[in-house]
């Protein structure tokens, strides 16, 4: 079984992001980029499936600028087999991403697509769900455990009330949550090998997908600054304050 893992190049989670003065977006000049952390978890899961003999090949896809090649390489450096780079400098919204992925799925015929539940840049949390809908496949989102059985996959999901396990017929779409696994560090031999692994260069046009944005960003603003807290001297004082605030 082939596993397809879409990965996105995003501003590194350690970077303190700043809004551009004109409110047109965030300033990404000279900022560190890395693979979306949820996607790293997706890559790790796919590699574990391969190591466990449940998957035969792990194929990465990225849609983004030339620099997104680094993102593919870092995924291949922890063990993915090859990559597909759909090159574009435009902003690609979740629906367009899902449409491109659906076309790639048709070509590659994977048994499983594992995505991050969301990308930490726009936090949309839509692509996996849209892809499943476009393909007409079952979806197991926010996975904290993935178990492949004969012809199906059991996905334990993190939901508001606790955990829920769904059984999906393969092929299926899974999106990862934080606790699914802890991604490994790339080893030196794999970093070197990743350089030599194959990456197919494509464009959105190759898949006949129109990526023109359908959403309009009205304004980007910093969240309001948090007001300074106060220190209370004792538990009774705390209770008193909570009562005054109407919380108790």
């Amino acid at each position: 079984m082939k596993v397809l893992v879409p990965v996105k190049r995003v501003v590194d989670y350690n970077v303190k992001i700043r809004v551009k003065p004109d409110g047109s977006g965030v300033d990404v000049a000279n900022v560190k980029f890395s693979m979306n952390p949820f996607d790293e978890i997706a890559v790790e899961e796919a590699i574990r499936l391969k190591e466990a003999g449940k998957a035969t090949e792990v194929v990465l896809v990225t849609i983004g600028p030339a620099k997104a090649d680094e993102t593919l390489r870092s995924g291949m450096a922890i063990g993915a087999d090859r990559g597909i780079h759909v090159k574009t400098d435009e902003l690609v919204e979740p629906l367009a991403v899902a449409k491109i992925l659906a076309k790639i799925v048709a070509e590659e015929a994977p048994g499983l697509v594992i995505l991050g539940k969301q990308a930490i840049d726009d936090d949309s949390n839509q692509t996996g769900q849209m892809l499943a809908a476009l393909l007409g496949w079952g979806q197991g989102t926010f996975a904290s455990k993935v178990e492949i059985t004969e012809g199906s996959v059991d996905v334990t999901r993190e939901v508001d009330g606790g955990l829920q396990t769904v059984t999906l017929k393969l092929p299926a779409v899974v999106t990862t949550d934080l606790r699914l696994n802890e991604p490994r560090y790339a080893s030196l031999p794999n970093i070197i090998k990743a350089k030599k692994k194959e990456v197919a260069a494509k464009t959105p046009a190759d898949y006949g997908v129109d990526i023109t944005p359908r959403l309009e960003v009205l304004k980007t603003a910093e969240p309001p600054a948090r007001k300074a807290g106060i220190k209370v001297g004792s538990v009774p004082e705390l209770l008193e304050k909570l009562k005054t605030a109407g919380v108790l």
Binding site: N30, E70, Y185, A186, S187, I191, I192, K195
Partner: protein, 596 residues
Amino acid sequence: MPIYKAPVDDTLFLLNDVLHLERYGNLAGFSDVPPDVLAQIIGEAGKICEERLQPLNRSGDAEGCGLDSSGEVTTPAGFKEAYREFVAGGWVGLAVPPEYDGQGLPYTLAVVMNEFASAANMSFAMYPGLTQGALAALLRHGSEEQKRLFAPPMAAGRWTGTMNLTEPQCGTDLGLLTTKASPRADGSYAVTGQKIFISAGEHDLSENIIHLVLARIEGAPAGVKGISLFIVPKYEVNPDGTLGARNAVRCGALEHKMGIHGNATCVMNYDGARGFLVGEPNRGLNAMFVMMNEARLGVAVQGLAQSEVAYQNAASYAKERLQGRALTGAKNAGGGADPIIVHPDIRRGLMEMKAFNEAARGLALATALDSDIAHRSEDAEARQAAEDRLGLLTPVLKGVLTDLGFESAVKAQQIWGGHGYIDENGVGQFVRDARITMIYEGANGIQALDLVGRKLPKDNGRAAMAYFAEVSEFIAHESSDEMKPFVEPLKAALGDLQKATIWLMQNALAKPDNGAGASYDYMHLFGRVALGYTWARIARAALAKKKEAPGDGAWLDTKLTTGQFYMEKMLPETGFRLARITAGVDTLMSLPAEMF
């Protein structure tokens, strides 16, 4: 909690823009690391050090190592798991040739990893660090059979290594060594004696420990000419590489010490342990000396590493701690006081640390690259030039980077005020851990003697003359207005170094105490010039980069200002050192010992 961020960008700037690593594609292993792969390797090195090693630094210091009655040693909680991840990355064998299961990459990159790992957790970093030192000696002097048997598991980190020189009566003066080796019928030796202060001598991280031990074969000449080098494995190794019986070497005690608590410093008792001669009999010291450059460079980098992590914690504290007001008017009018970073005296500490760190890193990497050239180049002339510079600069780096690295740690502690003296803040640990770097691997006073007594006069001063010529040429070549603030002070400092060198030539031969008495000042004078030259090279690269990539303006301007600070405020120490040197040793040596 102390913080640490590996200086990934600065390292890449040094490797790409100052040292131009891409120009060395003809050296074995270098073509494997084009700039994009290099960035990935350095990034991954930083990540594992920040996320896995640094969080164990404070806890490892507090817990220390344990010893049970059978002589088995446990490392602090978490070390085992972190070690497993570290070796899985292939970092131990980074520079080891592929035929011994290493990665065959540039040694220069191993030095980068050594800095990051030592800054994150020096105690931890010493376990793989000593393995690399032992491997270097084995690969250069071991027989084919020894290399085949011992090198691959060591490169993979499954086995670790140690260096056993010191004995109770024998530290600096190895001629006093008494551990003895008696030949056995099967060609091996029975090694008997006591070694002390052996780093990583016993621990629970690896399946086997390969001790490299200096000992005297029965009947060997007295003094340093009768010392041989032996491999003594903790578990004997069968010809097929599997482990055999427990050898007669045990850890008798752990030292309680000032710092590096997470690294086991062991008394090792050899009781007729089976050992195997490495290289020729009575040539053990030679074998050790060959790997000395790399080991000393490794310790120099530990000094830099403690300085870097101390600096980072001082800088972040200086921006948070509110005390006093800026003399130029309140900078934090809404708060009760300004952050202490507004005070010139706090800036002095921060700038001195920063200006030292960035040049020290450049100098260490340039010297590491010399080691790569010396060992991997096909061009005999290039090899010799690199070998000369490496030999000359190694004692300078060891002495100066560790002295100044320790000073940095103290400066960082000072910026933390009383809170820097309190254990739970973790800043005092940098001072305690940094302190050993000035002592082991040849105390710094011995480095100074090596520089003045051995390296300067070697080959009629060829290495020093070539170095002075290189710096002079750079100065003559970089005459632009932008470079003036760098090359003019450098020229004056080089002048001081040359004057001191001439003074030594004229005065040391007639009266040896003149040379030895001046050696410490000379080592520091040399170090200030080498760091100044490094700053000038960095400035040249920053100016060039500013023209081609204006986007990095603020970062590059910060570099240039930091470099100028060094030139104005730190490099002038050369004049003070020169004055001390030329004053001679009369007052230094004239008091009779009983007056002390």
